[in-house]
Assembly symmetry: C2
Homo-oligomer: 237 residues x 2
DNA sequence: TTCGGGCAAATGTGATCACAAATTGGAGGG
DNA sequence: CCCTCCAATTTGTGATCACATTTGCCCGAA
């Protein structure tokens, strides 16, 4: 709660810190917070959020939240209805199908490029992430699972060094993640059969094609899971 | 210049109109204006814009401009540098290559889907648009050319009815359009050899594969043009 | 109990203000 | 003639206010 009527929010930590931060604006922090919330599934499709609500929750003024929400909604990660209200977009069978089509077009290709820049040390890192994925899978912790699964895929994709494809793929993840979370809530995380092991092997063996196919298989697997439980979690209303 | 210290901007037209408008906010108008400026090439890569400058130019307060700029920058259509300044992103050979790769992955597929929903009347409409394309091509009017070329492609893509792929493709166009404009300024618009005629024929004959291939060829053609003049217009600084 | 009607609270939107950081411009010294 | 430094201006950022619209809720009539 800001007390001073003027001034720049003046958080307590930023003043004493040696400022190693390259200059984080409040807006960026809010946006990252929202992205994380979307990607981990804390935001349910159809759930409506408010500017002032988010602002109070994050301890900032509505202003940075406005810009962050605007940025997210530009990528269809949030929806601004005709009456102006903000909500996490509902999922429809058609939209889900389109998202998975787009993922299948972009992500395997991105993995193919990334393979050139991945080495054994990345395989080790991926292995560690995948361990946490499996742990949260067996533990039924859907939220952690989604975070680690995201970390796994994007550790690969990031290696491609693409400043164009990467944001597109991120946009897709932001769109389907909230729905994904509700699906896991219904069918449980045990039904998951990702192809992470094959991907790790491909990275270790520097097999670009293999990595691409593993990613494609992983996406197709998620597609089947969603198809199987299609119609249940869709259109919550 | 708004005179009243309060109130909602109060445009002159909206009050007397029978309100057929579904509720256009000032921010959306600003965003559309910026999109149009980007797509038609009025914004040069590297050119820096200011919030207050755009606001004054459009006759609104800096506020709606802020949100519009934020939305565009979320899709890499505008760049917000570390010092906060806003500018049209520079083009690099790598970035250009990535954009064209992404276009080649998405647009032909989008056209393939769209073909199902396109009929003879669309072929007529596309023909009319393509006439204007040719006209502006021979006339050397690069700005009109870019607008009409955009209209041509997106008349096709829109028919796919995809709410997911479409924004991704739009994002790509917003990214390369400003650079494209500078290329045409150098090599002239005469060097263009689009494959619009083949696309129109494919639409008329309801040949989905043919339409997909025509779109792919069109993109590849632009790729070659850009490759040929590569290194000249890049990194203007 | 159910269905309207109307009032109060909440919400997005646009404008304006204050401030810090950065840019710019020119004056002064080498 | 060129470089350096300082001040004035510009610019993005965050906060706050005012307003129109909408949502939510309670009360009263059928």
């Amino acid at each position: 709660m800001p007390v001073s009527p003027s001034q720049h929010a003046a958080p307590s930590s930023d003043v004493v810190a040696p400022a190693p931060a390259p200059r984080r604006s409040v807006r960026d922090e809010v946006e990252q917070s929202l992205r994380a919330g979307l990607l981990s599934g804390r935001f349910v499709p159809g759930h409506s959020v408010t500017l002032r609500g988010l602002a109070q929750e994050l301890g900032v003024s509505p202003m940075p939240v406005r810009e962050a929400v605007r940025a997210l909604s530009a990528g269809n990660a949030l929806e601004i209805r005709s009456n102006g209200r903000i909500q996490v977009p509902q999922m429809t069978p058609q939209r889900l199908s389109e998202i998975l089509t787009a993922r299948l077009l972009l992500e395997p290709e991105l993995a193919l490029v990334a393979a050139e820049n991945l080495d054994a040390s990345d395989a080790v890192e991926l292995r560690k992430i995948d361990d946490r994925v499996d742990e949260s899978l067996s533990g039924g912790d859907a939220e952690t699972y989604m975070q680690e699964n995201f970390a796994f895929h994007f550790h690969i994709y990031r290696a491609a060094g693409s400043q164009v494809l990467m944001p597109l793929v991120e946009s897709l993840w932001l769109q389907f993640a909230p729905f994904m979370r509700t699906v896991y809530g219904r069918v449980g995380t045990a039904a998951l059969d990702d192809h992470h092991k094959e991907a790790i092997d491909a990275v270790r063996g520097r097999d670009a094609r293999g990595l691409r196919d593993a990613v494609a298989a992983d996406i197709r697997c998620g597609m089947e899971l969603l198809d199987r439980s299609s119609g249940e979690g869709l259109q919550d209303a």
